[in-house]
C-alpha cells in the first residue's frame, strides 16, 4: 500500500523534503510501524527520527497516537510539537 507522507519544521529540514509518496511493506499497520520502517531506511531518516519522544504524527489531518492504524491512501504528517500563536 502507498501513503502520502508530509514532514514539517526541523523534521522537514533534516529529512530534506516536505513530502513524498511511499510504498509501505505489508508489515506496517500502524503509526509505530511506519516510524520504525522510516528509521530503517537509515541516513537522514534515521537521524531525523532518532528521538521519537519529540515527534508528533497526524493521520488524515488529525493528531493520533502510535497505535493508530495506517491504511493505503492515508495522508500521514510527521512533525515536532507545534509552536504557533
Amino acid at each position: 500500500m502507498s501513503v502520502q507522507l508530509l514532514y514539517f519544521a526541523w523534521l522537514r529540514a533534516r529529512i530534506g523534503r516536505g513530502e513524498e509518496e511511499l510504498e509501505l511493506p505489508p508489515a506496517v499497520r500502524d503509526v509505530a510501524g511506519l516510524l520504525e520502517f522510516l528509521r530503517s531506511r537509515g541516513g537522514r531518516y534515521a537521524e531525523a527520527l532518532a528521538d521519537l519522544s519529540v515527534v508528533r504524527v497526524a493521520v488524515n489531518q488529525d493528531y493520533v497516537e502510535r497505535d493508530h492504524p495506517v491504511r493505503g491512501g492515508d495522508e500521514v504528517a510527521i512533525f515536532p510539537p507545534v509552536t504557533g500563536g
Partner: protein
C-alpha cells in the same frame, strides 16, 4: 470565523466587523500575538531579528475550526474570530488575532483566553527564529501544555 493568511490584518476593522449589526453584544475580548525581538525561553539574551512561521495547509484550517467550535460549545458567544499569519515576520509584526463577542463579559474573556491557549498547543504552526547564531526552531513551552490542560 477563521483565516490563515500571509498578509497583515487590521485589528480595529476586524473587531468592528465581529460586532457589526448585532446590538446584543456587550463585550469583545481579544488577544493579539506579536513577534518579540528576543526568545523568552533563552532568558531574553538571544536577539531575534525575524521569525518564519510554517504551517500545515488544510490541517491548520481544520484544527482552527475545531477550536472555534469548541469555544462556541462552552460559552454563549455571538461571534468568534481567529486569524493566524504564516511566512516571514519581523519584531513588532502581528502573528495572530483571536477575538470573541458575547452579551456576557465573562464569556467573552474566558473564551478568548481558551482560544489562544488551545491554539498554542493544537494548531499546526512552527516558528523558526533568525538569531545572531543562525536559524533555530522554537521549542514548545511546557507552560503552554499546562495552560491547555487547565481547560479540560
Amino acid at each position: 470565523m477563521i483565516r490563515v493568511q500571509r498578509e497583515d490584518f487590521d485589528i480595529g476593522a476586524e473587531l468592528d466587523r465581529l460586532a457589526a449589526g448585532n446590538p446584543r453584544i456587550g463585550g469583545i475580548a481579544s488577544f493579539v500575538g506579536l513577534v518579540r525581538d528576543f526568545n523568552l525561553e533563552a532568558g531574553g539574551d538571544d536577539r531575534v531579528s525575524a521569525l518564519t512561521l510554517e504551517h500545515y495547509p488544510g490541517m491548520t484550517e481544520k484544527k482552527l475550526a475545531e477550536i472555534e467550535a469548541e469555544a462556541h460549545r462552552r460559552w454563549p458567544l455571538d461571534a468568534a474570530l481567529i486569524i493566524h499569519r504564516y511566512g516571514r515576520l519581523e519584531p513588532g509584526d502581528r502573528i495572530v488575532l483571536v477575538a470573541t463577542a458575547s452579551p456576557h463579559r465573562e464569556a467573552a474573556l474566558a473564551a478568548c483566553h481558551f482560544l489562544i491557549d488551545w491554539l498554542k498547543t493544537d494548531a499546526p504552526f512552527w516558528k523558526s527564529e533568525e538569531t545572531p547564531r543562525g536559524e533555530r526552531w522554537v521549542e514548545q513551552r511546557a507552560q503552554d501544555d499546562a495552560a491547555r490542560k487547565g481547560w479540560r
